[in-house]
Amino acid sequence: MSCKLNAIHACQSDKTIFMTTRGDLGRHRRWRPGRQKGYQMKLRKSSVLTAVLLLAATATALADGDAAVGRKKAETCLGCHAVPGYFNVYPSYHVPKLGGQSGKYIEAALKQYRDGGREHGTMHANASGLSDQDMADIGAYIESYRK
């Protein structure tokens, strides 16, 4: 819960919402030039709606990851991804290097393994046991390898 709150907070201080509401202002100005009061009401409603939608989308999609927590949750990952030269079998190829990937890429990949966008039995099984927050934490841990 605290992480969700953090995400909302971060989002509110972000310039994106400000820019978006200003974008709305521009559009309404062009469309309804002579109706001050109605225009302001409309603008306000649509700005609030935009802000709420953005907040909701951001809070659910981009949970903040905690690298230290992620390190603990990544124990299973390390069993394969921390072994230099480790091979996937049938077919045989190197298990991918992850150190230096972005947290967002790791999150996206884990979600795909879980939801079926990527085929891999073991990864599907592992990702299926993770919550979105777990994925964000693991992503943050892996991103900490970046120099």
Partner: protein
């Protein structure tokens, strides 16, 4: 009239297919005639960085330093629909990547410094 319409449709498809390309027509049009390997490599670089070390979007992977054989498997899976990404599935087909192209791409990106194996510390 028909020809004109067709060329517009083809143009629109080409543009849509190459959101990532530096030059859309260059990359999409000669696919039938055959792109050089360097052209194909440039298409990768447009989104992943020339050396695969500067992904354009936060959820795009770094390729620099990745195992060559893993890159090949990823490309094969995109080609076969076993891994899905709206741009990648389209690119592999639009560029007409051959097995040889995939192998060379794997070698090129794995030779760049970048990714590392995780450690247990």
């Amino acid at each position: 009239m028909n020809k004109k319409f067709l060329s517009v449709v083809i143009g629109a498809l080409g543009l849509a297919a190459s959101t990532c390309f530096v030059s859309a027509e260059e990359a999409a049009a000669p696919a039938a005639g055959g792109l050089s390997f360097d052209d194909k490599l440039k298409a990768c670089g447009a989104c992943h960085g020339e050396k695969g070390d500067k992904p354009l979007a936060p959820d795009y992977p770094t390729l620099a330093g990745q195992h060559a054989d893993y890159i090949v498997v990823a490309l094969q899976h995109y080609r076969d629909g076993r891994r899905t990404h709206p741009i990648m599935n389209m690119q592999v087909k639009a560029l007409g990547l051959t097995d040889e192209d995939m192998a060379k791409m794997g070698q090129y990106f794995s030779a760049q410094g970048g990714l590392e194996v995780l450690n247990t510390k």
